[in-house]
Structure formats: C-alpha cells, structure tokens
C-alpha cells in the first residue's frame, strides 16, 4: 500500500484503539467508587464495594464463575492436546480437521441451544434410549441442563473452545517441526504419546499461550452461553452482573460496577495463577523428560483425553444437527427419536421476524467485517514498513499489544462504561454504534488472521509490478491483495462469524432497538418454543458455516472462473463482430 506518513497513521490508529478501551475502563472504575455524574453522584465512596461483599449472591456466583471459568479451559486444553497427539499426521485426522471449521464458525449461543435440545431431560439423548432402555414415557425429572454446578455450561464451553485450541495448535505444528521431531523420536523407540508429552507439548505451549489466555478470559466472563445453558439462581458472576446492571433500581449499577471491576481482577489473577502453575508443572516434569523412559503412565491421561475429546466433538455435531430438525418439526412427542410429522410452517410463521433479524445480523456483520479488513490492512502495512526500516522482524509493534485488550477484558462492565459514552454522543440505539462495538471485537481476529500471510508476502511481485507499470494503488489491489485472496477470504469469514456471535455489544449499543439472530435466540431460549428457537439458532449457525465454506471454495477457483468468463465475453464479441462483417 503506498502509504505515506506511516508514523502518524500508527499513532492515530493506536489512539483510536485506545480511546474506547480507556473510556470503557474509566466508565467501569468510577461508578465502582460511587462516582457517576449522570445519576448525580459526585462523591467517591467505598459503599458499592461494601454492598458487593455483603451480598450473598455475589459469593455463590463467584464460586460458579471460578469453577466453570477454570474447569472449562483446563478440560479444553487437555482434550485438544490429546486429540492432536493422537491424530496428528494420520490420514483420517484430516477429516476431523475439516469438521472443525463448522464448530469454530457457529456462534456460542447456537451451540448452547443445540446442547439444550440434546441434553435436557426431554432432549434427544434421553429420547434415543426411551422407553426401550430407560422405561420413561415422560421426560424424567432431572436437572441435566442449567444444573446448579455448571456442568452443562462447562460442556458447552469445552465444545466451543476445544476446536478453537486444536485449530490454533494445528497452525503452529510447522514452526515447531513436529513431524521431524516425531520421526526422530520414534526412531529412538519412544511411543507417540510420550513424545508429545516430553518433546512437543513443552514447545507448543509457549506459542499458544495467548489463545489459551483468550479462552480463559472468555470462560470466566461469558454471558450469552451462560444465559442459555448456565445455572440460574445463582448464576455465574457475569450473568448476575448483567441482571444488576439492568435492574430498574439504578443504584444497583454501583454494586454491579464494583462487581465488574472485581471480575476484571479475577481474570487477571486467574491468568497469573495459570501461568504460575504452568511454570511449576514444567519445573516438576523437567527432570522426567530426560529420564529416558520410552513410555509412561501419564500417557494414559492423553489416551483418556482422546476418548473424551471425540465424545465432545460428537456431542457438538449432534447438537448442530438437532437445530434444523427442531425448526422443521411439526409433531415431535416424547419419546420419539425423530419428529412424526415435518413441516415448513415454523419457518413461514416466523418468516417476517426471521427476515428482519437476518437482515440486521448480516448488515452488521458485513459492514463491521469489511471495516475490520480495511483497518487491518492499513495497520499491517504500517507495521510492514516499520519492520522494513528497522530490520527487526521479531519486534512486536504497538498494535500487537493493543489489539488483544478488548478480547481479554470482560465485556460486562466494560461495555456498560462505553454505553455512557454512547449516550453522551447521542449514538445509543444507533446502528453505527452497534457496528462500532462489533468492530472492536471483530478487528483483533481479522488482524491476527491476516498478519502471518500479509507480512510473509513476497514483496518482489509488487515491486516488479510497479517497475513495469507504476500504478501503486491499482497494483496494490490487483497484485498484492489479489495474491493474498485466500487469506483475505479466511479473515473475512472469521470476522463475520465473530460478529454474528456477538450478544452483549448488540444488546448494549442497540438498546433493544435492533435485534439480531443471536440476541433474539438467547432471549427466547428459555421460552420453551423449541421450533422457533431452533429456527433462529439454525439460521445463526447457517450463515457463518456458509461463509466459511465459501471462503474455502472461492479463492481456489477464482482465477479459473475469471479467465473462463473473460474467454466467454471475448468469444461472444468475436461472434457478433463476424456477424456484423457478414451483413
């Protein structure tokens, strides 16, 4: 990109990134100390904290948050590592890899709704075994979802996070020379799992530390997933805080803000604890790594992980398949395994609503992702030019730090802080505000996806193009961007699916004036109208999967298609031209 003033652009961009983060943080911190001008509170005080710590629900919620928020990432990491160790470089595993992307693409809420359909007492799992095995003619009186221990929430989190971690790990395999290490190790007589335990996982962990942190922060602070499938009364801390923030009694906001600050501290301390325990584990296992044992008992931990991991994947897929079945079901009595009558009328009945929700969803997703792509390109170009000038290819740029902040901070609290800014700017309830908030969460993922391919692009092509024919902008688009098409499409698909999954940003910026498939699906998940909820969740899952598929399908064929169409046009011109001369 023929950018000038890159230094200026860098700082302006950094400022634009920092302002919302700073305002969001200040907007959470000040009310936590009773300072909130919109409500006429100007006196700093510790009373929100006193209220918070004397509230019984706070402790119950905190306990649940810690159990689910630490349990889910540990399980996800264990299962992802086990599956990778078991299947890496084996032929059938590429099939599993291909199945990962739909699970990656679909919004959390859709997965949670699918799991609700699968695991609840009247869900498909019980139906399949009833009545021939269980004897149930009616749904049993179990609490298998939204259980008070958060088990179903943990399952949902694992099903969503494990594929993500697996995906991230697969992309780093080349850089740690996994294949070669395995060959060398196996020649030395080591078993596959032992090699992973002793050689590969220790190398892999530092590279995927950041994605793991993102997963931990997400698990501790997730709202939509916990609303659908998490426990209520008490709920997890993030959900409890959301209820307090939305309480008609505005003074609850102070306590909620204090809670949001506490949640932020929780994330920081859990991450610190996580890192500490990693340090300890690697210290303890260090001597074990070189003891020469070719196989060990702890290999079985990985073996067990494979079985559990496969079960979790299977769960995720069945949950996905149940969404369209419910949306097409007319009559589906317990304990039938499949609907006895099918119909399209569910979709027709909800047609106008679904159309409106879909339009909103796609509009927001398209605009925020396109913006994110454009901004990412500018950011990457300034970074590339910087690297070119300084010869420091390993140095992290300012953006590489800033970009993670929004996804590591808890949305709850932070977004309510930003909401105050939106009200001042009179942008609350505006479509622009929703797109702006989505952009904040889409941008990091788009940037990270584009970063590798963009920076490793062979700049010689672009230089040669400009030497042959100096048209910097046209060549930038026609040569560089065109050659980076696969990465651009993938980044777009990822950004798109991130936007579709957003719940709180839409809710807070839109103030209920704009609903998307996600906000409506979450709101209705508890309603019990499974046919309608199934329709929404199905559409919610459909678009990201479609876009992911297109992003895989189009770039490979683009040039062939383009040349083919061009040929057709030329041929038809020739055809008409000949006719003309004949006449």
């Amino acid at each position: 990109m023929p950018l000038i003033h890159t230094r200026l652009i860098t700082w302006v961009m950094a400022l634009v990134l920092m302002i919302p983060i700073a305002i969001g943080l200040i907007g959470t911190l000040l009310p936590a100390f009773q300072y909130f001008p919109p409500l006429g509170e100007y006196q700093l005080s510790l009373s929100p904290w006193r209220d918070l710590f004397s509230h019984g629900e706070f402790y119950a919620s905190l306990k649940l948050t810690l159990i689910t928020g630490i349990g889910a990432p540990i399980l996800s990491l264990w299962l992802a590592l086990s599956l990778l160790a078991w299947g890496y470089q084996r032929p059938f595993f590429t099939k599993i890899e291909a199945l990962l992307s739909p699970l990656l693409a679909i919004p959390h809420a859709a997965i949670a709704i699918g799991l609700l359909f699968l695991l609840s007492p009247s869900g498909w799992l019980v139906r399949v075994f009833s009545p021939w095995l269980t004897g149930f003619e009616r749904p049993p009186n179990w609490i298998s979802v939204q259980d008070p221990y958060g088990v179903s929430l943990i399952i949902a989190l694992v099903i969503k996070e494990m594929p993500y971690l697996l995906f991230v790990m697969l992309t780093t395999m080349k850089s740690i020379k996994a294949r070669e290490s395995l060959q060398v190790g196996q020649a030395l007589g080591y078993s596959r799992f032992t090699l992973w335990r002793k050689v590969l996982i220790p190398q892999l962990y530092p590279i995927v530390r950041l994605p793991i942190f993102i997963v931990v922060a997400f698990s501790l602070t997730v709202v939509d997933l916990a609303l659908v499938i998490g426990p209520n009364t008490p709920s997890t801390l993030a959900v409890t805080l959301l209820r307090w923030f939305n309480n008609p009694d505005l003074s609850m906001r102070f306590m909620a803000s204090a809670g949001a600050v506490f949640l932020m501290l929780c994330v920081v301390s859990v991450l610190a604890g996580w890192e500490l325990s990693h340090k300890l584990t690697s210290k303890i296992t260090r001597s074990e790594r070189s003891n020469g044992k070719r196989a060990g008992l702890s290999d079985n931990l990985l073996r067990l992980g494979v079985i559990v991991g496969l079960l979790a994947l299977l769960n995720g897929f069945v949950a996905l398949v149940l969404l369209p079945i419910w949306s097409l079901a007319r009559r589906w009595r317990f304990p039938d395994a499949l609907p006895s009558q099918w119909t399209l009328s569910n979709l027709e009945r909800a047609g106008p609503l679904l159309l409106e929700l879909t339009t909103n969803t796609l509009l927001i997703a398209f605009l925020s992702t396109l913006l994110a792509c454009a901004i990412s390109l500018i950011m990457l170009e300034t970074k590339r030019q910087d690297m070119d000038k300084q010869h420091q290819h390993t140095k992290n740029h300012l953006f590489d730090w800033l970009i993670y902040v929004p996804i590591l901070l808890p949305q709850i609290g932070f977004l309510f802080g930003l909401h105050v800014l939106l009200i001042y700017l009179e942008l609350n309830g505006d479509l622009c505000a929703i797109i702006a908030l989505h952009l904040m969460y889409v941008l990091p993922y788009v940037y990270l996806t584009l970063k590798g391919p963009y920076l490793s692009y062979e700049e010689g092509y672009l230089q040669q193009a400009n030497r042959i024919h100096y048209r910097p902008w046209r060549n930038y688009l026609g040569i560089k961007i065109a050659m980076l098409k696969p990465a651009m499409f993938t980044a777009f698909a990822i950004g798109f699916s991130v936007s579709i999954a957003q719940y709180l940003p839409t809710l807070i910026a839109g103030e209920g004036r704009y609903s998307t498939l996600t906000t409506e699906a979450v709101a209705q998940a508890a309603s019990g109208d499974r046919k309608q909820v199934g329709s929404m969740a199905m559409l919610q899952a459909f678009f990201p999967i479609l876009v992911f598929w297109l992003a895989q399908f189009i770039p490979r064929r683009w040039t062939r298609w383009r040349l083919f169409i061009k040929q057709c046009v030329i041929r038809s011109k020739h055809f008409f031209f000949k006719k003309d001369t004949q006449c």
């Binding site: 030497r467 042959i468 024919h469 050659m483 098409k485 040039t559 040349l563």
Partner: protein, 211 residues
Amino acid sequence: MLIVKDFCLSLKDKRLIQHVSFDIDNGQVLSIMGPSGIGKSSLLHFLSGTLHQSLTATGEAFLNDTALHGKPTTARRVGLLQQMPLLFPHMSILENLLFAIAEDIPPEQRHKMAQQALEKLGIPDKANALPKELSGGQQARVALLRTLLSKPDYLLLDEPFSKLDPALRRDVRAFVLAEIRHANIPALLVTHDSEDAKAMQGKCLELEKAT
C-alpha cells in the same frame, strides 16, 4: 548509453565497492562478477533507485545525458529481471504481458503486441494458461518479454539464469541477448557464473574485495 562514474558503496564503516566506473552502449551487456556479499546486487539497486537505507552509495549514473541518480525509481524507466521470474500467479500469461504494455496504446494494438510476444516464445496457445503451467525456462522468457514490453530505457539483470536447469540456460541466455540487441538498450548483468558473462558477448567487470 548507460554511464556510471566513480561508484562507491559502504555498509556503515565497512567499504564494499570502491571507485567503479563503466559505460554500456545500447544493445550491449556488461557482466559484473565477484564474490558474494560484495555488493553486486546493491549496485543494481543503486541504479534502479531502490537501495536499502542501511547502505551508503556515492557516485553518478547517467542515461545518455540525463542524470539518473537523483530521480525516483518511478521516473527512471528501468527494467529489472531477478532470479525469480515473479510472474503474477493469479493472472494468465497474456494478462501478465498486457500488464506491462502502456495504457495509452489502443486495446487492439496492445493485444497484438502481447500475442506477438507469445508467438516469439513459440507458445501462442498458452495465452490463457497460468504461470505455474509453464516450464521454468518459459517462465524466465515470459518474464523478460514482460519487462521489455514496458519499454524500459535500460535493463538490469540480477542472476536471472541461476534458478534454471543447466540445459536450459544456454537457450535462455541466447534469447535474452537477442532481445536486448533487438530492443537496443544498455543492459547490466550481475552473475556468479562466468558462462553467463561469456554468453553475453560483452565486457566483463570483476569486482574484488575492497582492502
């Protein structure tokens, strides 16, 4: 005619090339040889105006009577051919050639020029093929013709034959020389291979480590 006067190159305090002068007539190729890291490629970058900031170069370069050294790359009308053919992988061969032909020429004329280039290469049927469908030798030739179609005033060749099969090299070398003579522009070739220099039938300049 390309004239270089008193060219010196240094990296920080390290002197690389000292006081090199030469001139190249139209249709002639001057070959420059020398050990790796001496700054042969940097000389090309100096002439094309893309010298890296960490290097300091002094000296003057003239094309006929106009000074080159002060001009930006885009105003120099330079053609550069590198080790890699750098054909754009997402464009057909024809599109790659058309890319180089000036815009102000009428479309039919442009097409004709590109088609002629393909015929010269003996691959008129490959117009709509993608670069990866061509052999290495063909790619190298297409890359040269693409550069020449942009009508450069002088040509810089940075080891363009080194990635080719030895068997192919002879043909490609002869092709390059014939095309340069045909275009009647001065060309500077940087190479490791004395065979390259011989094949170009021009003068050869050996650079030595500065003391």
